[in-house]
Amino acid sequence: MNTQEKPLFGSVEPEVVERIGAAAGDALRKNRRLAVIGSVPILLAAASAEAFADGLPQQVVDVLNYALTLEHFEDSFYRKANGTDGLIPAKYRDLFREIGQHETGHVALLSWVLGSAAVKPPKFDFTAGGKYPDVFSNFKTFSTLSSTIEDTGVAAFKGQVLNLAGSPVLQTALQIHSVEARHAGSVRVLVGKPGSDGAFDKPMSKSEVLEAVKPFFV
């Protein structure tokens, strides 16, 4: 697994690093509430065997497959929710339809870039093994989970920025990243949270993200 090794804020002034670090700690603690015990997921292992996608370095291919995996997760989540009668109140239907369309677009785009190196869509259990049994029947459960998933998505993309530095796909990744943040801001407001946890959004490493989403993967 391709983990983050470079220091994030190496050349930025120490007091700034410290402040960002403190905000980061809070964000991480919140995200870890999703984490459930279990073994290390292997969902990305299959893709690592592929050599290159359209001449992209293996590191970039790995990042894109990781991103595609998370986008499949989001896309499936909203497809199921948007297709479930009576779950989403009328006034919020256009919000979740819009979000769902974006996630579908991300899946299509990443799949196209990766070509034959693209991971297959995983299978999901959005109840997380029974932890959220009413995820598609109780709007509160669904929207709360949605806000956490979007926050995690933002942090996940942010965590891969350094792995994409200098790559032609960096621009695209940034343009997906900020869309996820718009989603996160919207759904957080809907569930009554502040749109942002602070002035600086903290990245999450790949292993942290996979740990957090693992309960949802079959």
Binding site: L109, A181, G185, F200
Partner: protein, 218 residues
């Protein structure tokens, strides 16, 4: 807008005579600002990008400071909380860039909000929406221009907060909705907008009195 209310010039941060980068506009340099004898030169390379972001953050911080100092009639508690939260984030971003730039930081810019009617909710929210929209596109366009990966990572912790702000402002206008999720700014592929510095500075120009010059920014 039914009338235009003019405010006296306002200097956010005092110009520092000793600060690097004050120069007389040369005809060789692109001048993105109003003609004036004095200009703030953004510098070159990553310093220019960081100064560019610093100028935009100053603009946003000054705007929200004005909004919270001069609330429009009938402002709701949610609106006050949102504006205050965003103001504090923008101030933290300003500080971040000021410290990161150290001696390379441009002086405080002089802003012009005469086009905004701070007594009218619609005018304030339209301006806020425009600033956040521009901010997201600007950061998305600036990221790939950064050479130092640490700066890229740091900018990444800010851009998603700007996107969250965009959602929060949009939610004040339309509620959590397709608009707050990015409809109108996000392409059919689910990609957010991106804009190069030269275009962003043209859009920001009506609000910035200080001419900003940057030979290296395209």
């Amino acid at each position: 807008m039914t009338f235009e209310q003019r405010y006296p010039r306002r200097t956010i941060l005092r110009w520092s005579a000793g600060a690097a980068g004050i120069l007389v506009c040369g005809s060789m340099l692109p001048n993105f600002g109003i003609s004036s004898a004095l200009a703030a030169d953004l510098g070159e390379g990553d310093v220019a990008i960081l100064n560019y972001a610093y100028a935009l953050e100053q603009l946003e911080a000054a705007f929200y400071t004005k909004v919270t100092d001069h609330p429009f009639k009938g402002i709701t508690q949610q609106e006050t909380e949102t504006f205050t939260e965003i103001r504090d984030h923008e101030r933290a971003h300003v500080e971040f860039f000021r410290k990161a730039l150290g001696g390379h930081a441009i002086p405080g810019i002089e802003v012009d909000f005469s086009k905004v009617d701070f007594d009218r909710r619609s005018s304030v929210l339209a301006a806020a929406d425009a600033f956040e929209t521009l901010g997201v596109a600007a950061f998305n366009g600036a990221g790939p221009l950064l050479v130092n990966a640490d700066y890229l990572a740091a900018a990444g912790t800010i851009v998603s907060v700007e996107a969250r702000h965009a959602a929060m402002i949009s939610a004040l206008l339309h509620g959590p909705s397709s608009a707050s999720a990015g409809k109108g700014h996000v392409s059919s592929k689910g990609l957010d907008s991106t804009m190069p510095p030269s275009k962003v500075l043209v859009q920001a120009k009506p609000f910035i009195k200080t001419p900003l010059t940057a030979a290296s920014l395209k």
